[in-house]
Structure formats: structure tokens, C-alpha cells
Symmetry: D2
Subunit: 308 residues, 4 copies
């Protein structure tokens, strides 16, 4: 299964479950993978930013990739962003050898001009192999790199292996509209647009032309439903479901504690065994934990999935 | 009326209404002021970031300050952030002469260490006059300046005129908790904490110890109600009302188009005459406008105020 | 005298002399202006970053502009960079009314994509008047805005009023070469390139195609000589003179204390009456002062101008 | 040989020599190591920023470390900066097992407050082992992290393993003075200060209290001499030698092309076999190469070492 530019649905960003002592929790990986598949995801992305990739040793990373791919019958994308092309290439080779569908590449946060960003993706694709399908990760809030629609078009034009845009610019609705308009007028080939940002704008992103989500909100089953409802034209129903989750989506979208929120809820839902983060990540404070409990309790009145 | 450290309630951030040709719309200023007062705000802040302050000439700024102060029977705070102390002092003098309650100062986005931030506020207070009450604006997302709780404590300790923290760090809940803990253990004097960020976390900020809001969401009347409900212990009611508005709050909180959303809704509500922004601000695209209309229509089913 | 795209020679960046108590020192302005003219500068730039522009009140700024223009028989460019177009337009109007040759505009440090930078200059030119000649200030070290050669070409193409590039990218030699190559192949119209960065690379910048310097090193008379020698093909002589000054150039180029160095030397040379900076600027420490004295003493063995 | 806080002299930053096809050039590593030792360096640092560390695969890195340590009879420090503690720990373990004297750690460029920087070094030291001596790399120009003197004092106080400050703040002279004053008044324990920044201020840094250099200028033999002359009180001689090299120092200090300059000169001096950089690094343009040749030719009139 290779990643293609007609990807759609939810490519869930998988966290990396750890035991309380920090070791990788393999049983939780399996259980989580099964949960995602049952929830109806179309693909999985492992070792992204919120998969705590920079905290993993190379061998650990490869083990996780192999384990997930073996179990999942959907395309698995592997985050390979690295400060240098050597590490990027090394992980890509191991991932593709294990059967990955493609890789995800974020730009280093020193890039400042359109030309440098375009050049970076050209060199990265060359470094990992021009036949390796990749996801462009456009996440300026974290990476401080601003890609205009025109830059994305240039990257897509230059690199046949660019198959998906993980869109998480903020604000970003007009960017989707601009890219889709270029597809329509023939000045840009089609690529899949899957949106991130913890789904904070998934409701309208779908309506602007996104193909799905590529994020890791703690209720990926809800993301699957919103994408399905939106695609089948059930606008109000999609928004109703989305709005019910928005208070928690917003809470989980906070940079920093967001990942701890996600793991805590997934633990409470019985998907993973512990909400442990590796350092420098930290667990939720008791006050934050109580707030999440309260949000879940409120949510459970609107969505039975939240009765945990 | 001087700004004091016991400030509370909603200090609404007022936009600056323009005619479609870009001139200041004075009748809309009056109408908006009346609307705010009737909505129950405790104070007003003019010429903040979202008051398009950098687009105003000095005389225009002073005219607005005078006009609002004359009409409002609540404390009026004036944003005086500027790249240099001369312009800051000049506007402060005119504002205080017109009867302002105090000024708001954001740090220039070149400050990078704790010491430089503390020194900046020391010098700013000295420049405008040590007797002029001021609001510390802590908004790292826009200003790229990170103030740790310890830095805020140092600023407060050094400057008796520091009366209010406009808290809009993100994430920021633990910061409120940290500051309030220091007040409790006696290591920091009390200052008011009024929160910004378009109220995206107002529900929990109140519970963490905030005294109110200092933001400009297009339904400031809702902010007043949430603050009141929260203070009177009606937690579920506060969250119910807040959650009803959250889809629109989130939409309006987008940097860039957010101000256009705010003005558009205030125009639709009949509060201001036009949603015009001065350049480089731009009006909403038709697609965005339709999205806001849809959000308003959904909101009106939960909050009659939104029937516009 | 309007600024034209055939500008060349040294457009000296003038500091703003203050009395020890912070007031503008008008006699020093006159003496400094006379000194510059006698040194052979081709133009003067006032109220740039190192003219402490953000510390000046509007009236002070206008007074300085008028005073300098009245006395100088060379084109005077006025720095009008501001956080908003209103202040930029106000100062431009007063400056042009006083007889300025043009204005200098730096981009605000929030611009992150090629398109936003190009749009900014389009809107700025429109705001100040499409007939007002302007200098593009390309200074990424301070402004954090990276302009690729392609962006500069787009700005020049869109704005007939763009006459000069104040080039102070670092590194920047290849940028000059790229721009001049485009002029040669006809894909870009000619504009003057005057270089900044305290002349740290003036020796090679001239050889790459610069037309002169637009900086404020404390020996502008040396800059005039280096430009002249370089243009007349006396390469070794140009480098000999330049190298003699390089230890001090480097010392003065430090961001922060650099301006204090400049003013201190100009005071020692008898050009201005005091080395006072307005806050938050600070005077040199005694240790730094002694280092500058030592550098001057060493320099005086190679260039008699430094015998002060 | 463990790194100690009484380190002094020149700890040369070693580039990584490559064959023209990009493979590591082991013979050049040996020749370069021999050259450094003969030049009188007190230590070597491998796999720093300018050692192209992020472009190396883990095994390549370890091979280089082992090769250099085996040959050198001076302390060898290994750059282990990484986006996560896992990779940092893995390389540290291999380096220390091979006999490294210590490691060098730069802060990730997302750190924005004093507290976060201090916490980062605490966690890093814990991650690699509290007994592993480390160098604090303070290089804001590249890493965008500003460490005030107070932050450095806190790091030193908390971490007994912090032995050396690689000082390359810019401007940075007052920082050295501040740290040495604290040592003198007993409020900070002594650590070695070795300066970087391609030695651009080495002349005065020595006089302010630095113990030597920790940089990789293409004439490390000159650095050794300047440090020696300065320590023995031969101020004028130190400056004379330094000034002769300053035109080239400045040229090589350019971020980006600087490393290509360094490798080109080292190739011309016969120290390494090729000036190849791994991507995204690029070779010098012909124009730049000619400029370096000219600088060398001029330098050779003052320092016979430059006759290459």
C-alpha cells in the first residue's frame, strides 16, 4: 500500500504509548492500532511530532513502525523529519523496508524564504529517494515556517512523490480554497489535503475542500464520523457532532499540555495503558486533569462515546 | 477613575469603527460605547492591537480617546504600545489628560531574556510617569515575547503602577494558578488578571482565579454573563452559555481574519455601521462571510442574542 | 532633488545628536551635516534605525528633517518605517513637504512569505503616494524578514518609486551578484544598490556591483574614499584603507552597543557634542570605551584621520 | 582525560572532511588531527554545528569520534545536540565509551524563557548522566536562544558537570565581564570560557577574561598564537597578528558560506583533501573563491602561514 494523492478519510496521528517507567508499551500499541482500525480510520501516521518522535532512539522507532504496519491493514505513514538528511534517509529506508506507505516531512524552522522552502523539499525528496511518497507538513505554529499556497504549488509541481498536504496552517481556510481553485483551473495537480491542528477547524475545512483529517484528537472515531457526515452532505449533523466535541478539542489543542490531555483521555477510554510522556514532556497537573474530567462528563451527555 | 488592582468583570477591547472610505465613524463609536455600557462591561480598552491602533494618526487616536471617555462612565484604558518611548509618552499624556484610567503596554517583540523584559517595563513606566496605572499585556502568540510567571512577579514587584495583567498566554491556565499561589503565600502582591485570547479559555480561566475578561469577542454581553455566572458558582450554566458560543469564538480567534469577523458580526448586530478595516486589513471573503452567517444562525438556536 | 535609481557614492546614515539631558542637539546636527558634506557624501539618511527614530516624537522628527535639508545640498532620505501606514504617511508628507529626496521603508518583522513582503511594499507605496521615491531596506538581522533576490525583483517591478536597495543582508555578496545579473539579462530594471551593515563587507560589495554605501560608520570620510578607490579600479588601495579600519568597523557593527561606539567616536572627533543615547539605549561601559580608545590609537598609526 | 573547568587554550572545532562523492574522508581526518596537534591546540571538538553533525548517520558519527580520540593526545569533546534526549543520550554513551572528554550541548531553538533554558540543561544532564562533563553552547545567532548571564550562572550552579561555556553571543564582551565579576565576588563557581563566533572578537575576549577559543577558523595555528600572546601580556603583538587575519576571519564568519570558506582554505593549505560539503551545504561560487584567494594573497604578505 503506497500513499497516493487520492487519500481521504482520517489518517490518525498515533501517539506512542509508554509504560510508567518510560519503556515503549507494545501491548498498548497493539490495542490502540486495533481501536483505530475499528473506528474506521483510513490510515495511520506514526512518529509525528505528537508521537514524541524526537525522544525515540532509532531502533525503538523502527520497532514501532514494524509492529504497527504488521497489524494495520491501512496505509501507515512515518514521520521522518530530522535536522539532517542522513537521519531522515536512514529512518525512511527502514520504514519503507518495513512496508510503510510513505513518510511525512516537516521543514526545519530556519527556512525563511519561498525559495529555501522549495529547495528543501527538492533536496529532501532526492535524499530519501524520489520514489518515496511523502506528506508535506505545513504547520507554521510549531515550525515557524510559513508556506504560501504558491510555495505548496511549487513543491507539488517539482516533486511527483508529494502526495498529501498535512494542512495545519492557522488560519488556513482560505489556503484550502486557493489550492482547490488552482486544481480546478488546471494550474496545479491534485493532492490530498488532510487537516491537522487537532481538528479545530475540521468542520469548515471539509466544506472548503479537504479530503479528511490527519490529526490525533482523542476521539478519532468522532473525526471519522464528522468526515463521513460532511462528505455525505449532512452539514448540520456534522456540525452538531463537531460542536459537542469542540470544548475538548480546544482544550487538547493547547501546545505543550495537549499531548498529555490526549494520552490521559485515551487511557481513560482504555485504549492505552498509561498516559506517561517521555521527558521533557510532563503529565497533567491535578487541576488540568479535573478540567478534562469535567469536559468528558459534559461531553458524555451529548456523545455516549465519552462515557468513560 | 483610575485603574486599580481590584479591577474585575469585563474590560471590553473596543474595535475602531470606520466608514467604508476609511474615515473614523464617530456615530458608531458612540453607539458601540452605549452598547457596551448597557451590556454591563466594567471597563473599556481602546486602541489595542485589535483597535487597529498602529493605523491611526496621533490626532485620530486622541480624538477617539476623548470621545469614548466623555461618554463612558466606566474606566477607559488606552493602548499605548509603540516602538519607542517618545510616542508612548506622547499618547499617554494626551490620554491621561483626557481622563483615561490607565494605559496598556505590550513588550516589543525583540525582547528575549527575563532581564530585558523586566527592564523594559521599568523604563516604560519611568517614561510615561510612575503614577500612570498600566496593564501588562502578555500575548506571546502575537508579540513573540514569553513572560514566565516569575517575570510577571518581578514586574509587579518593581512597578507599583502595574495594576492589571492582560493574560493571553496560550496555554495559560497554569500561569494563572501559579500567580494566584504566589499571592496566597505572600510572595506577590495582588493584581487583577483579566484574560484575552478572544475568550477561548474564559470558562476555565475564571475557575483558575481570573477576575474577568479583557477581550473583544463580538458578543461582549455573553462575556459579562459568563463572568457573572462563574463568579456566582453557577458552573454548569457558565459552561453551557460559553459552549454555545465556542464555535464562533474559535472562528473569531483566528489571527488575521479574526478582526474582520468581529466587525462583521458587530455590524450585523447593528452596533457599528460598517465592517471596514484599514489596510493592510482586509474584509472577509464571501466564503468566510457565509461561514460566519451559518455560525450565527446555529448560535441563534441556543442564544437569542444571535438572532440578527 | 529627488532620489533616483542612479544614486551612488555614500549616503551616510546620520545619528541624531542629543544633549546629555536627552534634548535634541541642534548645533551638533549642523556641525555633523557640515562634516558629512565636507567629507564628500552624496546623500544623507536621517531617522533610520540608528538615528534612534522610534525614540523621537513626531514634531522632533520633522524639525530634524527640516533642519538637515535646509543645510545640506545633497539628497536627504528620511526613514519612515512605522508599525502602521498612518504614521508612515504622516511623516512622509511632512518630510517631502520639507524637501526630502525620498523615504526609506523597512518591512515589519511579522512578514513571513514572499507574497506578504511584496504586498507590504505595494500597500506602503500606495499609502505614502506612488510618486514618493523610496529605499527598500533589506536588513534581516534586525527585522527578521528575509527577502530573496526574487522578492526584491518583484518589488522593483511593481513599484516605479522603488529607487534604491539598502542592502544589508548577511551574508549578502551573492545577492548583489544575482540582482546585477538580472539587470544584465534584462529581467530587472536598474536600481541603485547601496550597502549597509556598518560597511563590514563594503570592500567586496563594491566589486560585486554595489553603487556605494548607505551606512553610518564613524569615519564616513573613509567610506567615501573606499568607494572612490574601488570605482577607479584601485583595488589594493581600497582594501588597504578598508582593512585598516576593519577592527573598528567590526567593533562598531555589534548590534546594541554599536550606536554608542559610533557616537562616542564622533564625539571624540569633535563632530557631535555628546555621545548621549536616548533610552533604552545605554552609554558604553568604561571597559568598552577603553577598547575603542585602543582601537583608535592603533588606527591612527595607519590613518591620520584617527588622531583624535 | 575528562573535560575540566580549568580548560584553556584553543579547543578547535573540527570540520568533517568528505570525499568529493560525500563519503567521510578518513585520511583527511588523520591529517587534520595531526595538523591541529602540531599547531598546539589544547583540545578538539568534533561533530559541532560546523562539523556538519546533523548530516551524519549515527554510525558515521561514532566512527569519527573513535578515530579522532585514538589519534589525539588532547581532550576531545563531542557535539551531541539533538532534537530529543534519546539521540543525545545514545551518542553521548558511544562517545564517552570511546574516550571522549565530554560533550557539547546547544539549546533547542524553541526555548524562550530563563526557566525553560535552565530546565533544559537540568534534564539534558540527567538524560546523558550527571557525571558526563559538558560544554554549554551559547550561540543565539544560530539557535535563537538568548541566555542572560544570570541564566548561565543558574545552569552552572545546578549542574556540577557544566565545565565550559562556549561563548558565542554577539555582542558578548560584557557577558564575559559579568560572569568573571560573579566569580570574583564568589557568587558563581569558575568555569572555563572558550569563545566562538569564528574568533571575530577573540582579541578583546581574551582581555575580558576568556580562557581561550573554541572555534574553527581556518588558521587555528594563528588562534593558538593570539591566545598565547594575549595571556603573556603582549597586547600589541596579539592585536597585530589578529588584525592581519581579520579580513578573512570576517569573511569566514558569514553564516552559510562560512563553512565552505573554511574547508576551501584548509584544502588549499593541504590539511584536508577536498572542500566538499554534504547537502544542503554548497560549495563556494567562483566569485567567492576568487575573493578568498585574494584575501589569502593579501594575508600572505603579513603572515607567512598564508602562503598556500
Amino acid at each position: 500500500m503506497k500513499l497516493e494523492s487520492n487519500a481521504q478519510g482520517v489518517y490518525v496521528i498515533a501517539p506512542t504509548p509508554f509504560h510508567p517507567d518510560g519503556r515503549v508499551d507494545e501491548l498498548s500499541i497493539d490495542r490502540m492500532t486495533d481501536f483505530f482500525l475499528k473506528a474506521g480510520v483510513s490510515g495511520m501516521t506514526v512518529l509525528g511530532q505528537l508521537g514524541e518522535a524526537p525522544k525515540m532512539e532509532h531502533k525503538e522507532s523502527v520497532d514501532i513502525v514494524q509492529r504497527v504496519i504488521k497489524r494495520a491493514n491501512v496505509p501507515v505513514v512515518v514521520g521522518v523529519s530530522a535536522p539532517g538528511f542522513a537521519a531522515m534517509r536512514a529512518l525512511t529506508q527502514d520504514a519503507m523496508a518495513a512496508g510503510a506507505a510513505g513518510v511525512m516531512i516537516a521543514p526545519p524552522n530556519t527556512l525563511r524564504t519561498d525559495d529555501y522552502i522549495v529547495q528543501y523539499y527538492r533536496q529532501a525528496s532526492e535524499a530519501i529517494g524520489a520514489d518515496v511518497p511523502f506528506v508535506i507538513q505545513d504547520y507554521p505554529l510549531t515550525f515557524s515556517v510559513q508556506m504560501s499556497p504558491g510555495v505548496i504549488r511549487r513543491i507539488v509541481a517539482e516533486n511527483p512523490a508529494a502526495k498529501v498536504l498535512k494542512h495545519e496552517d492557522w488560519p488556513g481556510l482560505e489556503k484550502i480554497t486557493a489550492l482547490r481553485a488552482w486544481e480546478k483551473d488546471g494550474s496545479m495537480r491534485h493532492i490530498a489535503i488532510l487537516t491537522g491542528n487537532n481538528a479545530l477547524f475540521l468542520d469548515f475545512e471539509m466544506e472548503r475542500g479537504a479530503d479528511g483529517a490527519n490529526t490525533g484528537y482523542c476521539f478519532p472515531d468522532m473525526l471519522v464520523d464528522v468526515v463521513r457526515l460532511s462528505k455525505s452532505g449532512k452539514r448540520d449533523e456534522a456540525h452538531d457532532l463537531f460542536d459537542a466535541h469542540l470544548p475538548l478539542i480546544r482544550y487538547e489543542q493547547q501546545p505543550g499540555p495537549g499531548l498529555a490531555v490526549r494520552k490521559y483521555v485515551m487511557m481513560r477510554r482504555g485504549i492505552i495503558g498509561s498516559d506517561t510522556l517521555r521527558k521533557p514532556g510532563a503529565a497533567l497537573t491535578p487541576a488540568a486533569r479535573a478540567e478534562v474530567d469535567y469536559l468528558l462528563s459534559r461531553l458524555s451527555q451529548k456523545d455516549p462515546r465519552a462515557k468513560v
